[in-house]
Subunit: 316 residues, 6 copies
């Protein structure tokens, strides 16, 4: 198939895409048309049906897979598709995986690394808690492996939550070697569990949007609740250890104004906050730099609050 | 007994007081002495044992009830007791209630008002939830009736949590009449439960200090956990209702920088935040104004971020 | 008449509306047309005259009442009127009250409640001051009863100032019962007078926009000036009472960054600030929730700095 | 007389000083003594009466002029007087002017400059307004010439308000030449009147402290009120001119968080704010640098929010 | 020639303008057209080539001087040119100076004032340093005389840097007379050099945009580097004097959040900051007020963070 | 020798210590005494000479090594030495290294790691620049190896700058493996050089205090200047590479309000800022936790803006 990102002005389009959103509108001249947002794993693209009452335009709705025919034009320096014909695609005409953004890292490999990180935790209670999530809870595992880590900004693709979790865990593991005051088992456990609330905060793909519960409570409170629920089924889990672990989750945004109801008071909570912040920012900038072929200055990045620029290539 | 607040310079002291804290120190001349903080329900007072090795000074430690003899002096414009004799008080020599600050409102009366407020909630699930706390959970009821609402600042006395909870609930009840968009049952339930986490965040009297768990997690996260635990034992409690109620708890501080991980998104959450803020501020100023016989300007109040002054008395 | 809010796509329009604003513009193809904003008490609506030189389009200007004929279309999901014919309406063809947003509360009833609140103030000086405004100053009364409480955001309708003033007064009255430290007469007087500067800060309807004086000085400074002017005509009004009252007005926004040159230093000033804030926020959210038939999440509300959502309907 | 600032350790003291404050206290050993703060125009100094019951210690109270005999000692690197004898001074024994901090500039010269600045304003209304204050209102003139511009920080001496007013006026006059968009008459009038509220915000010397009215309302609101009162007695003063002038007063602190209820919206208001800020900061630093003979770094200055240092002396 | 600012709706256009920017676009109907931004010294103007493939439209690119023929229309209340014919202008058809915004002050006159300010500095080292820039460095002088002081906001025209530098220097000179604690030579030197980094931070006209170096380092760091380079070639320049001068440069934005890595610690650094701020703000408002013929309120000014209004004209 | 930290109440003291500071004072009773601050590598301790005129008290001054005899007492729960005899120590009586706080890491080992990091940089220009500092500049190397990284807070000991530099470099090296978008050579060079300005910002031990130059300019501006000076002696160093490197130094505090005149715009600048922040915070907390034998809550840490607590010891 032809990916949306590869379409060039003037090309003919005839392929299946996911219809992320469709809505009718009216031109300045009073003529009705349809705004369609197409999606595949390379990204999204605007499309227009200028003549919705034409015979070639069948019924369809948001989140349908649709077969379209049309032309790639340029509008405001953006490629835009003018759709001439449309119909709902038949099963077998498309492979779902082609239409969702996915992590550049292999899902199975990442999951194995998660399991290895769990195994590195020797404290029996923490190890048992990790296994109750990552080994024994099939429903959880399925969602954790598929979920993104955010609606937008960074890691907003299938497997993004697992990729972010692993990156944070590896940074934390590096810290434990450089700063011996850190408790390895507590920190690695907190790193692996710090964002699990996101499997409930965000709906699955292709929507990948905030759930009602997610907007009302947020992934920090929901994550704590999930951990407490698992611990309540374990025998003799030390109360103090539970509180120290929950504190790391509660404080991992680092500051009240970033949504943590407590600031880090334990060194492991501080380390988790630093690792989370480091991966979020470096991944955001990595994604921003790789999203374009332009060299030099790329304009203002809202999340990083700065104009950003690609570094020159220097020979070694 | 003679209350600490009523002691005047030059008076002889011979009574039982709670020893809130004792520590040894050394004068500039190298002489050892004891710093003692005495407490009764009228407040606290500094005392000194200038000659700890004297025969009249028996063994004692912090939180003991002690019988003392000594003199009330003035130092830096504060009354201070110079202790000559000391011994641990015998049971029967004192009544515990005389030594702890208590709410000016009668405890039984307040509890009845709490029950009445529970009864005013007609929604079966919410009513059932309230009863599971305020009617059926004896351990909870005992702590709720005794707890303060804060370590210092406002309502820092026995019964303070119940007094604050009732004041907030009554404000919310008034709101429901003035603003019909408010759901009475949801708001009253949230008002009654909004600070229950404080029974775990603060240790009981006479210490009334932050617990380890309280410092690590805070009363918002702990309160949510307590509510979730009760709901998990109820049948068919609607998921959405649970989330709306928990959101009110989560958001009741109103802003992220005040420790709420979410800002109010429902009108009941907003109303609860306004009522909580109103009672906290008006009670703080009420307590500050009534704590002194001075007229006029009373200096800077940190919590209110203002110089405060008593209003003049105007005849009607 | 057909209210603007009730117009549906495809309907024919032929009615009188207030022309809030008219301006000429040019299409991308270089053709001139007119942008018209129509208003009635249900709200405002965009309209276009695509052919201004047509014979059916008569002369008219902003703030004229105009009779129009045309079609209701949809543009960007908003209803928009394409106007074919236009003329200035004759007197008798319309009732002015149909074209201005008005408070849902009856104006006479509200005024009676204001008078009752004045009567509840027993202090002779304060009672006299209130009467000099609300009973004896006909020009003031006329403006006070018609004015809005804001250009937008909340209470931006005829009678809005009186409705807001009453709501704040009632909250304050409730406070005086719950917090006996409050001086009833001072607080109720301050509540009734706190926003009177708005009758000068905002021009009357239908403009309801900031006046030159309003932008330069603001309603706090102007309100103080109005009160001082009245007091200067009274005999023996106590200087200290005047200052305490003025302080309540000066401090009622609660913080310097909200435009109060002083923060609340008296408990009545604090109470007034809390009541003003409570009504502003609960009314804003009430209006936002009732302005749409949509359920669930309604998007970001700038004044409340939050995504807002309608609470579910729970049976009792 | 011997100024307090010139006293050295070991010297005998026998002179009249202003008793700024006296209060009794008790030593660690329980002995009563008196804390006395002495003042003359060179500054203030701590003094102690270790034996208040001695025959040589007569009756006296705060703000009395007292004749004392005693010794200058050093305590914590500060000179401190141990007083042996004390009595209230007789009239004729002292000249009041020796006991209050005064502006380094001659009072009559400054007043002539104020009058000259008034005369430079040609607009009849503004000139008339200025004369109603600075030429015709004897009570105002007396207070204006004696008042300080602040309790502490800068210009906290007799004549300080007039000195600050002149410095701001001269800066504004310079601005009008460099920036022709400025209206000379409006700006000079606003400069001369911008801080007149301070004659009511601060009590006269020797107290020089915030008045009740000053704390409740602040000099911005009080200054506006004073100007409005004068204007109300003038014929035909243009309403718009009054509002523009009042806006300059209202906005002269430049930002809401500095206590201005409006930010500068007219260029004259902006210019006044810049001149006020410039003189306040440069005078504060000038006073801080000249208050000590030390070279180099002088520590942290709270008002300027910086460590400050004297610049080296460079030959020309 | 006809300046862009003077074009009125309906006029024919046939003149040479600078093409500041050109880019192709597509109409909603899919038709390609060109967006052109024309510039002359009176400002910039949007223009459209609706038919780029027409024979009359020759090749051209951004920053070419182009001869155009077309019509002045109105779109969204702005004049817009519809271009019918276009070709690159020949040398001799235009005078470059007509196409760039220039300071209202004469360049030679300003330069003489700069030299006079240099001469007023008597300290040999500082005088030598100033001469090494303003007298002996031809490349520097050329750029300094042509550079703007900003990309937008204020002084964004040829000669703007010199005009701003002089205005700041004159304010500083006035300060040295009013505040004798200021060292004249140090302050005037710092004033003359405070913004020299801008000749590298901004590219020359007509681009006048941030350079790569400018975005990465900023004019404060670059200016310090330029001064250090000159000083390194001088004999015996006192180290302490160099540091005091560099501190004034480093701290001239006044606060860390405005990009100064140090706040003012010397009185000359404070004075420079106040003068820089004063000229920036008064010039910004002067330019905003003179940029329109409208009276009264001009809307929100982002740099001044206020709604701004022209002051009324008052007769003298 | 007996380290200060090991002294217990009641012990006799007779050893050589560094006199960090000495100043005379006067008791409340008017008796002169000396305040002495003693230092060795275990920390500092207060000492008093109550009888300075005694025969056993010889002449000495700040920063002398002094032999003292006296008694360890307790005052305000702190050990304090009452000195009976004092004399300046003879050379040979003490080893300087015993009196300064030193890094727990071996100085030679750290220096070897620095050289290895330099060698890992393959870009010829960057490698040459690093060698010009760390291999060829003996004066620089001597200071770099001895300097602290801060006056207080963290790494405030001999070798602290090198220890911090290495920790940041290692974090950066780890980042380059996890985030391939990072340029290894640029980032490692920036990491090694980011704080070199501190060898001029802080005086050497034992003072370890801000220099005049350091207070005026700060280590960011001074570090850039040092790098520019070295580069100016190299042939053909690419201008763009210089600017990218300097940007990393300039932006390494991450935000304007932390003293960086530019925020990170390159991914290497962002990475350096994150590594610097991570090491500063984790080292600060490590030092705070290891500075006491207390378990549990340690009180409020100003730098981390949180109450901090030791994590419990959990068996593995």
């Amino acid at each position: 198939m032809k990916y949306l990102k590869e379409l060039r002005e003037g090309e003919k389009v005839s392929d299946v895409y996911l219809c992320k959103h469709v809505a009718s509108a009216v031109t300045k001249n009073g003529k009705e048309y349809l705004n369609v947002i197409l999606q595949d794993k390379s990204g999204v693209l605007d499309a227009k049906v200028w003549d919705p009452s034409s015979g070639g335009i069948g019924e369809f709705k948001s989140l349908d897979y649709i077969y379209i025919m049309g032309d790639a034009l340029t509008f405001n320096n953006q490629i835009q598709i003018s759709i001439k014909r449309i119909r709902i695609a038949n099963e077998g005409e498309y492979v779902e995986a082609d239409y969702l953004p996915v992590s550049p890292r292999d899902n199975d490999t990442m999951y194995k690394e998660v399991i290895a990180a769990c195994d590195s935790v020797k404290n029996l209670y923490l190890n048992g808690l990790l296994k109750s999530f990552f080994v024994n809870d099939t429903d959880f595992i399925g969602k954790f492996r598929k979920s993104s880590a955010a609606k937008t900004v960074h890691h907003s693709f299938v497997g993004g939550l697992m990729q972010h979790t692993l990156a944070v865990t590896k940074l934390c593991n590096f810290y434990t070697k450089a700063y011996p005051a850190l408790d390895h088992d507590l920190l690695i456990t907190a790193a692996l569990l710090h964002d699990i609330g996101k499997i409930k905060e965000l709906s699955g793909f292709p929507e990948n949007d905030y759930t009602d519960e997610g907007q009302l409570l947020g992934h920090i409170v929901m994550g704590c609740s999930m951990i407490e629920e698992k611990i309540s089924r374990m025998d003799d889990f030390p109360e103090k250890l539970k509180n120290e672990l929950l504190h790391c989750i509660v404080a991992h945004h680092g500051q009240l104004e970033f949504g943590s109801p407590k600031v880090p008071e334990l060194i492991e909570a501080l380390a988790l906050n630093l690792a989370d912040n480091t991966d979020a920012k470096l991944e955001t900038l990595t994604e921003a730099l790789s999203s374009t072929n332009e060299k030099g200055w790329l304009g203002f990045n809202k999340f990083l609050d700065a104009n950003i620029r690609k570094t020159s290539d220097w020979e070694k």
